[in-house]
Symmetry: C2
Subunit: 537 residues, 2 copies
Amino acid sequence: MKEADIVLFPELTLTSYPPEDLLLRKGLYTQLDVAMARIGREVHDIDLLVGYPRRTAAGLYNACSVIRHGRIIATYHKQHLPNYSVFDEKRYFVPGDRACVFDLRGIPTALSICEDIWVHGTAFQAKAAGARLMLNINASPYHLGKMHTREEILRAAVREGRMPVIYVNLVGGQDELVFDGASMVMQASGEVVARCPEFREALQLVEVSSAADPRLESPAVASSARESGDASLSRPEAASTLLLRGELSHVPTAEESAYMALVTGVRDYVRKNGFKGAVIGVSGGIDSALTLAIAADALGADQIEAVLMPSRYTAQMSIDDARAEAAALGVHYHIISIEQAFNALTDSLAPVFAGLKPDVTEENIQARCRGVILMAISNKTGKIVLTTGNKSEMACGYATLYGDMAGGFAPLKDVPKMLVYRLAEYRNQRGAVIPKRVFERPPSAELRPDQKDEDSLPPYPILDPILERYVEHDQTPEEIIAAGFEAQTVKRVARMVDRNEYKRRQAAPGVRISPRAFGRDRRYPITSGYSEIGTRD
Amino acid sequence: MKEADIVLFPELTLTSYPPEDLLLRKGLYTQLDVAMARIGREVHDIDLLVGYPRRTAAGLYNACSVIRHGRIIATYHKQHLPNYSVFDEKRYFVPGDRACVFDLRGIPTALSICEDIWVHGTAFQAKAAGARLMLNINASPYHLGKMHTREEILRAAVREGRMPVIYVNLVGGQDELVFDGASMVMQASGEVVARCPEFREALQLVEVSSAADPRLESPAVASSARESGDASLSRPEAASTLLLRGELSHVPTAEESAYMALVTGVRDYVRKNGFKGAVIGVSGGIDSALTLAIAADALGADQIEAVLMPSRYTAQMSIDDARAEAAALGVHYHIISIEQAFNALTDSLAPVFAGLKPDVTEENIQARCRGVILMAISNKTGKIVLTTGNKSEMACGYATLYGDMAGGFAPLKDVPKMLVYRLAEYRNQRGAVIPKRVFERPPSAELRPDQKDEDSLPPYPILDPILERYVEHDQTPEEIIAAGFEAQTVKRVARMVDRNEYKRRQAAPGVRISPRAFGRDRRYPITSGYSEIGTRD
């Protein structure tokens, strides 16, 4: 490959990330041995850097090895094992305790894995071991703004070690996590001299030359197959300073980046789990409109079925807008009224409910009729149901279990309502698929006459920042009130979040795009006497 | 309290266990400071040993302190932090690094917390620090047979430290985990001289005397309030050997113990989360019969509503048996046919399904009609729906999402089918509540004519041991086949388990009674290309 000397693959290349409790299955290690032997047998004329879980008498390591001519010539054990947020590495691995420097065509080169470079001292340790170049392989999950954070972290490591770093990251989605790739190369000066695209596999050539004698430069390759990252090759003289060169890919805006994350998360969940497409209940609201667009972009319009399920409370406008969305995307749609099913269920329950007034029960029955219909189409067609709820709703429990929450994957689960609007606007800029009216109508679940979300929730421009503080930043209600929010509102929101952990526990997984998503990122007990709002408010 | 010198409470007394990510909320520490100050102010004339999370400049410790006359006189930091199975303590805590020995009325007494005593060296360290008695406070989750394991572990520690151990454990349920109490006192000889009951709060008096001069003996108390354990008091002379005395509570059989675990788990989930009772769909099968009995025993028959939801496929025998179960327990029941709802839904879907044959879709619609009806009764009454599926079904995905899986808590989630029968027999011994015929009929979901579980699953006497090996012991299919099971069956079972992770992810929590339950105990990715059975079989 362009005479590359080495090709770099990401952290835990052979299992992908995170393998979770599959790491406890001894069957895994038999398969890994077979895979490593095969790589050694089949790959010639190029070095490989491959990540894998490595069993030793001292325990299991998150390891990587350089394979040259069918033999392992260097092995590094990850030293810093993240065990916070979405990470559980101490559940499986023991930490390494030393640098690993190997000779890459005359350049003493250090290996490191992900978290290692986030911790002060690793680059220094590599330098002390004689390294002049650092390779850092990652499975670093995406969240909004993380590319910038990574660059700062890399810059600190580059300064500490006074050497360039080639940073390789995974691309693709696995359950809640999506990996954005965006591998990069940072010069010893702190300058980014090569950057791979976000959310796309790429092959990045990195050339390494000696600053002392640039004539000696030779090519270096950064490669990325599906779910792999960069690779570098180099054949320069030893020199006091190395110069690296590659290509700089476009840096996306926040909306573009988040949208790509959602598309990647949906595509990989649906494809890797073998579904034949997706079924989506479309209501005429902004959430289902955005979900439909994401699904069509991820899977192709011909793989999607939109289902409109009107009831007596559905406005004609809602039906018109939902139809317009399907038409604009070229998605096939069905209209199935829930009236007949709703009436049958309420009739059947009438003897039990005699003398009791209608309440949220009847609203939930409507949502659940829709859930049953969508799941029936899913069962019959082999297509997955995508739910359409957003993070603001998930936080407050403004959703019906087994109703609008019924489905296999929840694309907007980590997207607050205000960001839903921004992403919908972004998508319309690329081609108008969501009618303007959908942005302008007050959000409503249409489960009773003239219902509006604001009957049950604070307005989203107030709700979303409160949720961000309470859920993502663990601020206390007192702190949020002190920041200028109305006390009653803050307490009401906190109480809704606390009380609805049981709903979230049964929610479908969705794409994490924030620094703290519901799911493996925020682990609260359902049964809990803890409250930060006191017994009265 | 009987002139006790000290009362012992379990691990993390002030937050209960596990607090999970509540430990990341700074609001928690404000409340803990208030609680500790209040204890110091209000408790006099007796020492307290209290567990709590303790923030220091060096990090957060899983700590315990002895409080005497309103002041902390000794603090210990847990040294061994479990981070496997259901435990995630390295996510939150940093480990302590030393013994803590305090003077308990002349006896140098070491503190330790849970896992510490499971690790070789802790008792030796305590002895080296001069201790003659070890207090060990726990939040040790129950599983079948664990009492015996704990006793062996304790015996090893007692031998290592050549000193008695007073072991205090939590009582009660929190989400998936149930704590069985069963606090005990082990003499330096290895003899258990006091034991609290399983699954019941108890106050255990432990008297400590000097073997050298038994006349100097004085009382010692082991107390247990709700979710607390033992306490000991002592006022002997220093002596080379201590003699401890208390009361030995009855040791239950496996069935009695498991049944109590399920009752405790259900009662605490329902009560602590504020539900007004429980709603249970009763089919005439053994699973719903046992679930109904557990719920009635946990909450009282007057808090339960049984719901019979027959369809065209329901045998009259099923209705009769379900009725008989409700009558025997004194539980109120409703009969609500699903025919009308099922017909309405299939009618509504007919245009979309035109030309397609009936399949599992129509079976799932039946299960989901039942789910909607149960949830409607739950919404209307404030009673929680208890699901009735067992571990064998959960493992194989033999259940309908949002159908029979709809509900807030799953009592039998960790009970394999064969154990369901044993527990039902045990319950009938205490008073016959399940008709004999329910034990004898072949299990059936009754979702199509003459359906039997064995149409879809291997017979349970074969299925259950395969599942235990594959799920609980991580054996490979090869190992299970080598143990004498039929190859095709083993591969089929393994494939079912692998493919249904997505269903389990949306399942209600249930009581863990095995060494490996689905849920926080077995963390598998849904999206996974890993398989131990190859692509063909």
